[in-house]
Point group: C2
Chain length 472, copies 2
């Protein structure tokens, strides 16, 4: 064959391939458009969230609300006509807040100002008459050693390092100070502190205290000290009062209690794959929440968006090649028992999970996804960027995925996390104002549509590490 003929043949093949690539791309583009149309015009996630938030409310692990949420979401998944819906039993911790906490700042005997606090999740209570002591303000755990036992013993340690406002990603700012909340009590106890108060992890100045998980590590039970969060306005007030009156006293009373573990469940629904029924793709959020608000953003949003992904596939008559599971994990907030349990059983049953996506960063306008996967998969995702551009989904970066799907991680697997706009998330996180009215219907729906689109693409083309050719 002459070289010219070979060249012509190659050109023809090339253009044939490019036409085929074009058609595939057009098919994907149309499917994604259908997903968005269905989500925005006939979405169900907002209605589900309204029920979870307003009819059920805060769903702390082990609470009646958490169990009602299990029953409700199980029934709703069943109504979707999935191939399977079941509950996966998991034992969870049970901690209750009890009656509302009470606190004041006493600048002189009889002269005091009440301030808003809440117990940190897992804290021990104060004595029934409350706890009153002088306060030492610190900027973090490192300060304890610097001040030493002499300065700390018998006092309440006030951790007041704020979230860094100059960080664009507010989760980074959260990560930069949450050690105060998580380890503040166990560390302060080592220096003889009698209690701790932590500045709320909130970038906004307001009056809401924000709870969240904490740990006593291996501190013996009789040496555990009560821990509470104070609102950002309260923290600023306390700090400025301490400058004027360093020997002021802080009083707080909290009535929380830890019980024995109780039975709970992950809620799971599945559309069984047509080509690879034994390969699993998971989409999920966590069904439990803190108790102060109604857990609309954290993480009611992630749950209903995940349910919506499967509903959209059913409504659009999309039959996935892989088995797609929605998993509503129990107990992310104070134990991660649900996430651990799901991964444990998957391993026991030798279920091959190739992909998992979690939405646990609020129901705000989605900006994209962060991924925990290898470079080959990242390149495949990068090739999909043009498909997402019309929907203003632009963020595709390596990074974390989600706490509940983390335990599933295996070499070669794709883990992903939805990344919504993060600016307002910590205004509501773990606080009384994490409520339904703070969620915008369209923003929530756009998140579910972005998730369904990503899963559609991974289902269609497979992950790069499945090692099995996926037919188109």
């Amino acid at each position: 064959m002459s070289r010219i003929l070979v060249l012509l043949l190659l050109l023809t093949l090339g253009s044939f391939n490019s036409v085929k690539a074009q058609q595939v791309k057009q098919k994907d583009s149309l499917m994604i458009r259908s997903i968005y149309d269905m989500a925005l015009l006939q979405g169900k996630s907002y209605e589900w969230l309204e029920y979870l938030s307003n009819e059920i409310g805060g769903r702390l692990s082990g609470s009646l609300e958490a169990e009602r949420a299990v029953k409700y979401t199980e029934a709703e998944l069943k109504a979707l006509g999935l191939d399977k819906v079941w509950l996966q039993p998991v034992m969870v911790p049970k901690w209750t807040r009890g009656t509302k906490e009470y606190a004041y700042i006493e600048t002189a005997p009889g002269i005091s100002t009440t301030t808003n606090i809440c117990a940190l999740g897992g804290s021990v209570p104060t004595p029934a008459i409350g706890l009153k002591a002088e306060v030492i303000e610190v900027q973090g755990l490192d300060d304890l050693e610097r001040y030493g036992r002499e300065a700390i013993e018998g006092k309440i340690v006030f951790y007041n390092r704020p979230m860094q406002a100059d960080l664009i990603n507010t989760f980074e700012a959260y990560g930069g100070c949450v050690d105060q909340r998580y380890a503040g009590a166990m560390e302060a106890a080592k220096y003889g502190a009698v209690g701790i108060v932590v500045r709320s992890m909130n970038l906004r100045q307001d009056d809401y205290p924000h709870t969240g998980s904490m740990s006593y590590g291996d501190t013996p039970a009789n040496q555990r000290i009560p821990a509470c969060a104070i609102s950002t306005n309260g923290a600023d007030y306390l700090s400025s009062a301490l400058k004027i009156k360093p020997d002021l006293k802080f009083y707080f009373k909290q009535n929380c209690k830890t019980y024995d573990d109780v039975q709970s469940y992950n809620v799971i629904g599945e559309i069984t794959g047509s080509t690879y029924p034994d390969k699993y793709m998971v989409v999920g959020g966590h069904l439990d929440s803190w108790d102060l608000g109604d857990g609309s953003h954290d993480d009611g949003a992630g749950c209903v968006q995940s349910m919506e992904v499967l509903r959209l596939f059913k409504k659009l008559n999309y039959q996935p090649k892989h088995s797609i599971r929605v998993v509503l994990f129990m107990n992310e907030e104070n134990g991660l028992r649900g996430g651990n349990k799901y991964a444990e059983e998957a391993k026991l049953k030798n279920e091959q999970h190739v992909f998992a996506l979690e939405s646990d960063a609020g129901g705000f306008t989605p900006r994209g996804f962060s991924f925990d996967m290898d470079q080959a998969n990242m390149e495949q995702v990068a090739s999909w960027k043009p498909l997402f551009k019309p929907y203003l989904i632009h963020y595709f970066e390596m990074g974390g995925s989600g706490a509940d799907i983390g335990p599933l991680k295996e070499k070669g697997m794709v883990l992903a996390g939805l990344r919504p706009d993060s600016q307002r998330y910590f205004d509501h996180h773990h606080a009384e104002n994490d409520t339904f009215d703070a969620v915008n219907k369209r923003e929530l729906e756009l998140g579910g549509a972005a998730m369904a689109s990503l899963i559609y693409l991974f289902d269609t083309y497979g992950t790069k590490t499945e090692m099995t050719p996926v037919k188109n």
Copy 2:
């Protein structure tokens, strides 16, 4: 010289240039980081907005509030130590709402349901006793011809085409139905309608009616019919009531009035350029607002962000090469007199404007900018994308800029508009709930920082069409 020597020389020069380019880029990157740090840690825009919103309130052209806003922002700009601050006189229309509107749907004599309405801006009042008539529901202006005079005469035309929820950019959805509000009354009058009710331009279901500008065109004064907006919930209620009871009656009473034009002002501040004092770059928003809310998003946000750009430059000791002007335009909402006046005077004085940026799409998380300019400038902007990536500013597309800067447009000029996330904008637009609490401090500040960064880059490198080499 041998070819190898030439090659080596070229490579050396190339790497020298690339080192230089690297240094320039690093300088820009550091400057932008400083802009963001200053905006997020020591920003002033939120404080200004608090005053405009809560101390002054809605700033309808010709109102006392608008004049107070002129005086306040003039004083605040003076306090920044700019090179010049002045007021540019402009005559503006004066329309007042009068006492609150009242409306009900009467399904049978004596059986009625009140519903929330507001007069459209510029509407004539109803008779003092109100107006009651049967209703004909239409989906848009085109329907008028289809139904014809026989069906319309003596009735109130109810325009009920909703914003399209499947459009990702909500401004596009707005553009797709605002003709009903703007031209609905003048068109319906041609068919003998006695009044119009327009579904609010709002993607959310709620009870707020949204006002906005309308025109009677050249309809003679005695043929002008009153026009109001009804909330989205009200519109749905009215529509379903009409299905059951097509001869129901709608009653409304509104007390608005148009006065003679009154004196007002654009507020202008300038940092005079060091290298090109006679070339102007404008950044602005509009100081007037509708009267129902306090105009926090529309467009208090754009005003304080624009003021913040100049404040950031002063605080960072950045001496711009071009003269940078902040212009707070008066009367964007119902006349555009301020924008027209500024452009007119610029032309009279032969001031060369090379760049203008408007922020008038709400104080939400900025996503990027849309541009009205030539391809050479677009390529320059594209080369800056990496500088914006750390701040999650990703949208750089051709498109509109801003209503107030539109009249400045000249060949070769760069016009730009800040493009914040648009999902919640129309929840608040022109309604009672466009209030300060709906603005998040960080989101507002991120917008101002993005604007300052873009202006810094255009000031440093010049627009591609200035035709004058800009020194570095």
